[in-house]
């Protein structure tokens, strides 16, 4: 139920088409796209091939493990888990998609508007969205259900309204930076109207960020939808839903722990697929700086050299001090250390430190 780990990612550079193509060459991107596509196709075509009816009971085989007839086992009424999971996918995916569409339907125009109309407009819109973000979203969703009943699609649309504030916050920064680019100014000088500038020039530059966020948000929507169904505010039985199936399985955790696995794994994999797709499009997390730990590499040993100053106790030649990966801080220090200098060295504050 972790709401809003939305981040802009490293959405700089490259058109959205190139980004998507690049994402589909990474294993994580391939996994995400394939799994989601598979789920969509499976749930659309499911009436044609599902091995069992959703509410077909086989009480003799209740709480059975995976078998040839029931690929993922059966629940407490002997209903086929695989069929129910696939049949429940449609509503889960549509519900979450509604959240995403509503959130962007509100968030994108707001961000474009605030970026275009300067500080005054931005301040007003930002204050309102901040308040929206500071509200306990889950409690408000439950309050909505308390008033209108568990009408999942409407509830998911309300969630979209609340999340549009987070979408706005991330997109505003992007829209503002895009508007500063020269080609946007050029388009305006050329007499393009406000709508045309936004649609043709600002929006396309924001598409990568939008794609990343939409994928992340899709996963969040799925988790919240399942959470609501888990506490009994999902579609009414006998219509199956993932959250409700996990709730039913939790009752049988002592006598049939396997029942927890299929539904939970499918839900987790679907959310993961959306997140992996988002990561792949955004180009992944920033790389960490070189290690802070001291390097274990030793300097090359070149054997004893001839001392230049015969009175020296120790002689330093071409000393270089540098931080790992950084520029050299000190270079080319050469000095013979004679006995009378040594006491000065050991008394200096630098002595004794690493």
């Amino acid at each position: 139920m972790s709401v809003l780990p939305l981040d802009a990612g490293q959405a700089a550079g490259g058109s959205v088409k190139r980004r998507l193509r690049a994402a589909l060459r990474k294993p994580a991107g391939v996994f995400g796209a394939t799994w989601l596509l598979l789920l969509v196709v499976a749930s659309i075509t499911s009436p044609l091939w599902l091995p069992h009816e959703v509410d077909e009971q086989d009480l003799a085989a209740a709480l059975a493990g995976p078998s040839g007839t029931h690929w993922l086992g059966t629940d407490e009424l002997g209903r086929d888990m695989f069929s129910r999971i696939v049949a429940a996918a449609g509503e889960a995916l549509i519900g979450s998609a509604i959240t995403v569409i509503v959130a962007f339907g509100i968030g994108v125009p707001l961000a474009l508007f605030a970026a275009e109309h300067g500080q005054q407009a931005e301040r007003v819109v930002s204050r309102i969205t901040e308040i929206l973000l500071a509200l306990p979203g889950m409690v408000i969703l439950l309050a909505v259900i308390g008033v209108i009943g568990p009408r999942i699609y409407i509830v998911m649309a309300v969630l979209g309204v609340m999340i549009s504030a987070a979408v706005y916050r991330v997109l505003l920064a992007v829209a503002q930076s895009v508007r500063k680019r020269l080609y946007v100014d050029a388009a305006r000088v050329n007499g393009l109207g406000s709508l045309a500038v936004n649609v043709r020039h600002v929006l396309p530059a924001m598409l990568t960020t939008i794609a990343v966020q939409a994928a992340q948000l899709f996963g969040i929507g799925l988790l919240i939808e399942a959470g609501l169904a888990f506490i009994g505010f999902g579609p009414r039985p006998p219509v199956p839903s993932w959250g409700d199936m996990i709730q039913a399985a939790s009752v049988h955790i002592t006598d049939d722990p396997w029942l927890m696995v299929p539904t939970g794994a499918v839900l987790a994999l679907t959310v993961m697929a959306a997140n992996e797709l988002a990561d792949a499009i955004s180009g992944g997390a920033p790389k960490p700086a070189p290690r802070l730990a001291r390097m274990r590499r030793r300097a090359a040993v070149t054997g004893p050299a001839e001392p230049r100053d015969p009175t020296a106790v120790l002689e330093v030649r071409d000393l270089t001090v540098a931080v790992d990966g950084g520029p050299a801080l000190v270079t080319g220090v050469s000095s013979p250390w004679r006995r009378d200098l040594c006491s000065a060295w050991s008394a200096s504050p630098a002595a004794g430190r690493r």
């Binding site: 139920m1 972790s2 709401v3 809003l4 780990p5 981040d7 204050r127 308040i131 973000l133 500071a134 509200l135 306990p136 979203g137 889950m138 409690v139 408000i140 439950l142 309050a143 909505v144 308390g146 008033v147 209108i148 996963g219 988790l223 399942a226 959470g227 609501l228 888990f230 506490i231 009994g232 505010f233 996990i246 709730q247 399985a249 939790s250 955790i253 002592t254 927890m260 939970g264 839900l267 987790a268 959310v271 993961m272 997140n275 992996e276 990561d279 992944g284 997390a285 920033p286 790389k287 960490p288 700086a289 290690r291 802070l292 730990a293 931080v323 950084g326 801080l329 430190r353 690493r354």
Partner: protein, 313 residues
């Protein structure tokens, strides 16, 4: 600093006011009425109307709102429509359970997430890739599912922690912690992953700073460098993500409480929502908002104390 505190305070009050208006309108702008719930099923329209009249539902909206606000500010949320108990007493008895779970889960997410995130950023390499991959798996796991698996592993296979039941803090602090450990851990799995990501990104940025390089060059011990200097630089995004996490985990707690049969706000909300007990629902919205807003206010002040840039912004 004074100006900053005043602004945050005004914002907090504004948020609570917005939540109050929202929860009031939500209840009043719909077709249903409390009279229908009080009168029960099979009541005649006249009976429903009489019940509404008695509840003051037929008065003008503005009058009702003023009346409701004046009661709520005095801490009076009215009585439940379903069984007539005092909503305030009920919710205040339940609030500590939910708030404790959310607080414990946030604390756990913060500690685990910061240590993991900082270590990943400092070490880099294979460990960093493992943390990144692990955190993207962890954020995808539904907390209520993790909760059931924890019950299986820690309460059924072994008897390390109790699966259900609540022991008040005042009665026995150790048992209290034990009774809340499972839900807190279940919620912290996803929370820690998000904190770890933020901490890692912040630390990667922090370790590139010039002052960190200077501190390193003069021989500051590594732990001090990481956990005092670099982490302070990275603290603003981490603390603000903790604020968002507290809101999310408060909501998450309402979901997972059900699983552990804990007498918290979740149970009350679930009951109230199920029977359309609207005054109770309103009470939950207002109380939850106040708790969440106060926590975020405190976190904002913490950020301001840590980061002088925030104070002047």
């Amino acid at each position: 600093m004074v100006g900053y505190v005043a602004r945050r305070l005004a914002f907090a009050i504004g948020t609570v006011a917005a939540a109050s208006v929202l929860s009031f309108l939500l209840v009043h702008l719909t077709s249903g009425s409390p009279g229908a719930i009080v009168a029960g099923q099979g009541a005649t329209p006249e009976q429903i109307d009489a019940a509404n009249e008695e509840l003051g539902w037929n008065r003008p909206l503005v009058t009702q709102f003023a009346d409701w606000v004046s009661h709520v500010t005095r801490g009076d949320f009215g009585t439940s429509l379903s069984d007539g108990h005092d909503i305030k007493a009920d919710l205040f008895a339940r609030l500590p359970v939910t708030a404790s779970i959310a607080l414990l889960a946030t604390l756990l997410s913060a500690i685990v997430g910061i240590v993991i995130g900082v270590t990943a950023a400092v070490r880099g390499g294979r460990l960093d890739r493992a943390v990144t991959a692990g955190s993207s798996i962890a954020v995808s796991l539904p907390a209520f599912w993790v909760g059931v698996l924890l019950v299986y592993a820690l309460s059924i296979r072994t008897t390390l922690l109790p699966a259900t039941g609540y022991v008040p803090f005042a009665e026995n602090p150790v048992e209290w912690l034990k009774s809340l450990a499972l839900p807190a851990i279940a919620l912290a799995v996803g929370g820690a992953a998000i904190v770890a990501r933020t901490a890692r990104t912040g630390m990667v940025e922090a370790l590139r700073q010039e002052h960190i390089r200077t501190l390193q060059a003069i021989g500051t011990p590594p732990w001090r460098l990481r956990y005092v200097h670099a982490l302070r630089f990275a603290s603003a995004p981490v603390v603000s993500v903790l604020g968002v996490q507290f809101i999310a985990l408060f909501g998450g707690s309402i979901i997972v409480e059900n699983l552990f049969a804990l007498p918290g706000l979740g149970q009350a909300t679930q009951l109230a929502v199920g029977v359309h007990d609207l005054p109770a629902v309103q009470g939950v919205v207002v109380i939850a908002t106040v708790v969440v807003v106060i926590t975020n206010l405190l976190l904002d002040l913490l950020v301001a104390a840590l980061d002088p840039k925030v104070r002047t912004a």
